[in-house]
């Protein structure tokens, strides 16, 4: 188990209390799970993805991650439409364990970037992890 100081938590991301991250790139948002989440889940053996074109609200469940331990829901940090799913994870779900930032889960077209205000900054996320 990684100590909090050992976690890779990029400073330029927005985080959620459910341990997803989001990166804004133009009018697209890229979504994945944090290093803390992948470390806690352990080996990920399956990623259940939404369909391109599906729409979800902020905080709504859009898929599941199956680790050896359990099935965990993943929640969309921002409302929006799925524009791409990371197909590489279908064959190699363990990529999420290897690098949870390089290996994003979905790209979405967010419907309201003001929703970013409800997400956590790196400092707020660290506070959450430190309990």
């Amino acid at each position: 188990m990684k100590e909090i100081k050992e976690l890779n938590l990029p400073e330029d991301l927005h985080y959620t209390k459910d341990h997803e991250w989001v990166r804004i790139k133009g009018d697209i948002a890229i979504v994945g799970i944090s290093d803390y989440a992948q470390d806690q889940l352990g080996d990920i053996v399956y990623v259940e993805m939404p369909e391109v074109g599906d729409e979800f609200g902020q905080g709504e469940e859009f898929g599941t991650l199956e680790s050896v331990k359990a099935v965990s829901e993943i929640y969309l940090p921002l409302a929006g439409e799925i524009v791409e799913v990371n197909e590489a994870l279908a064959d190699a779900p363990e990529l999420v364990n290897k690098d949870p930032y390089e290996n994003w889960i979905v790209r979405i077209r967010p419907s309201d970037l003001l929703e970013l205000d409800a997400l956590l900054t790196i400092d707020e996320y660290l506070d959450l992890l430190n309990g």
Binding site: Q40, G42, D43, V45, V68
Partner: protein, 425 residues
């Protein structure tokens, strides 16, 4: 004591080696090490793994009436349990069975070891030592029968996987005398005290070596004095390095045992009748298969059991799971709710080739393709309200997701637990 989290003597080692820890049966135990549960599961099928199992409870039953007491309480007939010949349990042999209450419900499952004519060792699950000891105590007829709980005085570790014997051979003082004749469910030696047997490690540690395990794979369980546990653990790791042995946690232990169709006590068997399940070989059946060769606590309840609940193994078609919990259940093919999920995990060493389940340990002659690289299959046990034939599909659901799984007689093929020792040295 109820809320105290306990630690095995190897706890600091697990933490220092990056284990992801969690509390299981009130012990803080490693779930997996940095290799990860998938790599640990695969190591046990292809090389070897070592598990800290010192959390398990160890009792001894001693005295002239020890066997009589166990015959009254334990589900196997110690006088007729050894293989097709129904040989009596003898010194150096052990047997799997269950302790039942008067209703035929499971108190715990156990392995009973006959050490000498009047000394037996009973290994039960973590946290169950006191309950099983109390159960034996109230049922004993002879005041001279002594029941002792040695859990905190004995360290236990399991070496499992095809390289296990070659690893053990490196650390035993006289391996050629001990290993070649060692049959499945036999043991040698003792872990200390006046009965200390002739089995020693190179460093002089007395060890009890049992050819048993909880993975379905070839291997051993080692019992040593608690003070020697850490040094023996290090010796095994050092001897196993050249064979690719790695430490393994409870997650791999769980996925390995589920694929091997072995029950987890208090999850797959428990406070319901021990009937209609895959583990009825643990009972003292007579040759007709309709009665028992002896009377024991719970026997008459089982023979009169009207229970209509059936525990069945299943395997899915991909790794997807449904968490086994109060909020998940089982549907039949037409969508009718028929029961609950007891265990649902992923056996990461298996996949389907044209519908047939194949393991990474399967030979190519038996259907493994050259490029076989399994993603794993969901598997475990359900308890349903009707008998279902192997091959029937059922649906597991948590109300949102539904996955189709197949009722199975067996899950992971090609298991090595019973393989002849001559092939493993």
């Amino acid at each position: 004591m109820g809320n105290v989290v306990r630690k095995t003597v190897l706890h600091a080692w697990h933490q220092a080696h990056g284990a992801n820890m969690a509390v299981f049966a009130s012990y803080d135990m490693p779930l997996w090490y940095p290799t990860g549960a998938r790599g640990e599961h695969l190591a046990v099928l292809t090389r070897a793994g070592i598990f800290d199992t010192s959390h398990m409870a160890i009792l001894t039953v001693r005295g002239k009436a020890a066997r009589t007491l166990l015959q009254h309480c334990f589900s196997k007939d110690l006088d007729a349990c050894g293989g097709p010949g129904r040989n009596p349990l003898a010194a150096g042999r052990c047997v799997y069975g269950v302790f039942l209450d008067g209703k035929g419900h499971v108190l715990d499952d156990a392995i009973v070891y006959q050490v000498t004519e009047d000394l037996y060792m009973v290994v039960v699950n973590a946290g169950m030592g006191a309950a099983v000891a109390a159960h034996l105590e109230i049922n004993k007829q002879d005041a001279d029968t002594i029941i002792s709980d040695l859990t905190d005085r004995v360290g236990k570790m399991d070496i499992q996987g095809p390289a296990s014997a070659r690893i053990l051979k490196k650390i035993l003082r006289d391996p050629d005398e001990i290993l070649p004749k060692m049959a499945y469910f036999s043991f040698r030696g003792w872990f200390g005290g006046p009965e200390a047997g002739p089995v020693l490690l190179l460093d002089g540690t007395s060890v009890m070596v049992s050819r048993t395990g909880y993975t379905g794979e070839f291997g051993f369980e080692l019992y040593v004095d608690i003070a020697r546990t850490a040094s023996v653990w290090e010796s095994v790791l050092a001897a196993g390095r050249e064979f690719g042995l790695i430490p393994c946690g409870l997650a791999a232990r769980d996925s390995l045992r589920a694929g091997a169709v072995l029950p987890l006590s208090h999850q797959d068997i428990g406070h319901w009748p021990f009937a209609h399940n895959p583990w009825l070989f643990a009972l003292a059946w007579d040759e007709t298969g309709t009665g028992f060769t002896k009377d024991f606590i719970g026997a008459s309840a089982l023979l009169q059991c009207k229970e209509q609940e059936y525990t069945l193994p299943f395997a899915g078609y991909d790794p997807r799971k449904i968490n086994a919990c109060e909020d998940s259940w089982v549907l039949d093919g037409s969508g009718v709710r028929i029961g609950s999920i007891l265990t649902c995990t992923t056996d990461m060493a298996i996949g389907r080739v044209d519908g047939t389940i194949v393991s990474i340990a399967t030979s190519e002659a038996d259907g493994k393709t050259g490029d076989f690289n399994p993603k794993g299959l969901c598997c475990g046990f359900v308890k349903v309200n009707r008998p279902l034939a192997a091959g029937e599909n059922i649906i597991l659901t948590d109300g949102k997701r539904r996955i189709t799984v197949e009722v199975r007689e067996d899950i992971r093929p090609g298991r090595s637990a019973r393989r002849a020792m001559s092939r493993m040295l």
